[in-house]
């Protein structure tokens, strides 16, 4: 009986001693956390998409509190939600430039020449290892929808032509599609920039147009027509300097002989690109 009491006493003593340590630690080693952090985090969408450049929503909330970033840096939140957070913190919401993922390729099934039949794993990553699912242009969109799978916001849908259409309204510019594309065809661009090069072929002239009706043949007319150095030719492709403010009118793309550079308002591929002229389709194999 006495032994039992001793054991119980020791346990109680240990409990009291550790409790005391915890109490002291709580009193003196406490890290003060801004109470607004939890509130701001709750006001953020919680998708942890990374579009703001931070690893997740909580990390972004911390940068908001420290003033390193502005509420509009969250491209997923609606304008109202941004305003609410700005009010909560008493800061300026900041100017949000709506950005979207744009595809630098317009060569769908109807435009790019196809010369082989692909029977492997139905993913761009898989098809990219053995040609491009039979597409003659191995720089262009493979069309098996890895980006559609990667998009957590349901903003990408494959159209009948085998090209991904990014919904400008739904796209949060998180960049998951940029990573998913094995051909690196996506770029996050400001939505108010309308000049878009929809081709990534490093070839010029007939070599390029032999692959696809909407290939850039590197003629350079767009670079000539653009004011200043807005568009420069680099590696047989026009490169648009979006930082310079962009082109004011669709005139810069008007003389493009193939339609590789486009004036895009809203979603891509709203208009059907010119179809391939028949007769170049190779027999499958043999």
């Amino acid at each position: 009986m006495e032994l039992l009491l001793v054991a119980a006493g020791i346990m109680a003593g240990l409990g009291f001693a550790f409790g005391l340590i915890l109490a002291v630690a709580y009193r003196f080693l406490r890290v003060q956390e801004d109470p607004r952090l939890g509130l701001v985090e709750a006001a953020l969408p919680g998708s942890n998409c990374g579009a703001c450049g931070q690893p997740g929503c909580r990390a972004f909330a911390e940068t908001l509190l420290s003033g390193e970033s502005k509420p509009s840096g969250c491209s997923v939140s609606s304008p109202e939600a941004v305003e609410r957070i700005a009010d909560m913190l008493g800061v300026d919401a900041g100017q949000a430039i709506k950005r979207v993922a744009r595809l630098h390729c317009a060569g769908g099934k109807a435009q790019a020449l196809n010369f082989a039949e692909y029977q492997g794993v139905s993913s761009c990553a898989g098809a990219g290892l053995v040609g491009s699912a039979g597409k003659s242009c191995t720089w262009g969109c493979i069309g098996l929808g890895d980006c559609e799978t990667a998009c957590t916001f349901g903003a990408i849908g494959m159209n009948d032509n085998g090209l991904p259409v990014v919904s400008v309204d739904k796209c949060t510019a998180c960049g998951d599609c940029v990573v998913a594309c094995p051909r690196d065809l996506f770029e996050i661009l400001p939505a108010d920039q309308h000049v878009l090069v929809q081709c990534s072929v490093p070839l010029s002239g007939a070599d390029a147009t032999a692959l696809c009706t909407v290939a850039c043949d590197a003629c350079g007319r767009c670079a000539q027509d653009a004011p200043g150095k807005l568009i420069v030719m680099h590696g047989n492709l026009p490169v648009v300097d979006y930082a310079a403010g962009g082109a004011a009118s669709p005139m810069v793309v008007a003389r493009c002989p193939t339609g590789a550079i486009q004036w895009v308002v809203g979603d891509q591929f709203q208009e059907q690109a010119p179809l391939r002229v028949g007769g170049r389709q190779h027999a499958p194999v043999g």
Partner: protein, 471 residues
């Protein structure tokens, strides 16, 4: 160090599979020379490493065997004109995968006898290591088992490492292929001459030729050649080379020809993951590479042609052909009577590890061991079934990986987690895919996962470099 041939019986490795060899169609057919065709395409990059740099101009006349592109880096090899003729263009041409790559196009001179002028025998013995490497690299010699890795890299033994045994791979464990088999039957003395040269240069104590037991004529042919070599050594007439060469039969099992599997079978030693055979004192080379090396050293003849097995259900006249590198695949298949109307797929290499050919206009490469055409192909509409966790792939994988687990991760889109399951150690032999009762294309999933992981790592490295440069 374990004595060569530990265990007297035919060695083998753990796991592996037994696909139907399907070599009957061509294994008894002597190698015949493919007639010259009109146009040849020589891609500047035919293996890992830097593309070669062209040294000829369009319009220039070239002789058969003349250097047309020089090596650009250490892991890079030279290319030579496969025919006498005129350089038509240097530009983007189709690779067998369908990609457009830089290549030299040469039109053959149809009135030229296409004789290869015998060059002087190269001094291979007294030159420095560096000069020997330059000789092999300049001769365009690559491993001819399939991957076409530059041979001079494999034949250079770095400081601090030594070669105990030179291992010559005559397994040819891929079904259908018989090019190495015919090489061993028809040119055993050239194989041994190459072994003499390579073995002396790497400083080995002996050489072992591993041959699967389904090639008894190959083994007996090599054994007869070894006896002739012994007689020459006894006469003091073997160019001063006297290390022992043995032929060792190994069990018929796939992938017996993978170099780590072959070392396990011959010496009962396992090469650890992430290590090379050289770390254990072995240098592994293919039999056909030895012939190419002997021809380069003795005849001054660079690697401009190779033996290709043309077989498969859609080929009218299967054959073993000596084909100039750069010959269009279409011309080779036409020479073999063309393809049947029901052809569904053309594969370059063996059926287990070979790659599908996207266009028949692409050329035969230095690493093309076979051209196989099949009437049967996987029904593209038939979806792979779910993994039933039967574990057959675990028992098939010679590298003791867990293909089932990795396959399920890949299909769930959790590609990056596959690295924890050692997907980067997968050599893509295809044994798991071959046994899978649910017909899951495991190797294809692993290949794409490896590409994705490599891409992510490269992006991270670039980002780290950028951050490091900025700070």
């Amino acid at each position: 160090m374990a004595s060569p041939g530990a265990g007297s019986g035919p060695g083998t490795f753990r796991h592996g599979v037994h696909p139907d060899g399907a070599k009957e169609a061509t294994e008894h057919l002597p190698v015949e020379r493919m007639p010259f065709v009109e146009r040849y395409t020589v891609p500047l990059a035919q293996h890992l490493g830097a593309p070669a740099i062209p040294v000829v101009q369009p319009g220039q006349r070239v002789q058969r065997g003349q250097l047309v592109a020089r090596a650009a880096a250490f892991v890079s090899t030279a290319h030579h004109a496969p025919v006498t003729g005129t350089v038509v263009s240097i530009g983007k041409e189709r690779y067998p995968s369908g990609a457009l790559v830089e290549a030299i196009v040469i039109d053959a001179d149809r009135f030229d006898p296409q004789m290869l002028a015998p060059g002087p025998a190269a001094d291979w013995r007294s030159v420095s290591d560096k000069d020997f490497m330059a000789l092999v690299q300049g001769g365009g010699i690559v491993g001819m088992g399939g991957a076409a890795f530059p041979s001079h890299v494999k034949l250079s033994v770095p400081e601090g490492k030594g070669c105990d045994q030179l291992v010559i791979n005559g397994c040819e464990c891929e079904p259908f292929l018989t090019c190495d088999h015919r090489t061993m039957v028809e040119r055993p003395d050239a194989v041994l001459r190459g072994v003499d040269i390579a073995g002396t240069r790497v400083g080995c104590k002996g050489a072992v030729i591993g041959v699967e037991l389904n090639k008894p004529d190959g083994i007996s042919s090599l054994q007869a050649a070894i006896e002739r070599r012994q007689a020459r050594i006894a006469r003091g007439d073997n160019d001063g080379v006297s290390f022992p060469i043995r032929v060792h039969g190994v069990q018929v099992k796939y992938p017996q020809g993978a170099e780590k599997m072959l070392i396990k079978a011959l010496f009962d030693r396992e090469v650890p993951a992430g290590k090379l055979p050289l770390d254990l004192g072995y240098v592994v080379n293919n039999v056909a590479t030895m012939v190419a090396l002997a021809e380069l050293v003795d005849g001054g003849s660079p690697l401009i042609e190779r033996v290709v097995t043309v077989s498969g259900s859609a080929v009218r006249r299967p054959a073993n052909l000596l084909v100039p590198v750069g010959t269009p695949i279409r011309a080779v298949l036409d020479h073999c009577g063309g393809l049947t109307a029901q052809v569904r797929q053309v594969v370059m290499g063996g059926p287990m590890m070979g790659m599908p050919v996207a266009t028949l206009d692409a050329p035969v490469l230095k690493g093309t061991s076979g051209l196989l055409a099949f009437e049967e192909a996987r029904d593209p509409l038939k979806e792979a079934g779910p993994c039933i966790k039967c574990g057959q792939c675990l028992e098939a994988c010679p590298y003791m990986l867990n293909p089932s687990r990795m396959g399920r991760l890949a299909r769930a889109g959790r590609v990056l987690e596959m690295e924890d399951w050692l997907v980067m150690d997968c050599v893509e032999c295809g044994a798991c895919t071959w046994v899978c009762p649910s017909e899951i294309p495991l190797v294809h999933l692993f290949r794409s996962a490896k590409a994705t992981i490599r891409k992510k790592k490269a992006a991270e490295q670039a980002a780290a470099k950028k951050a490091g440069g900025a700070s």
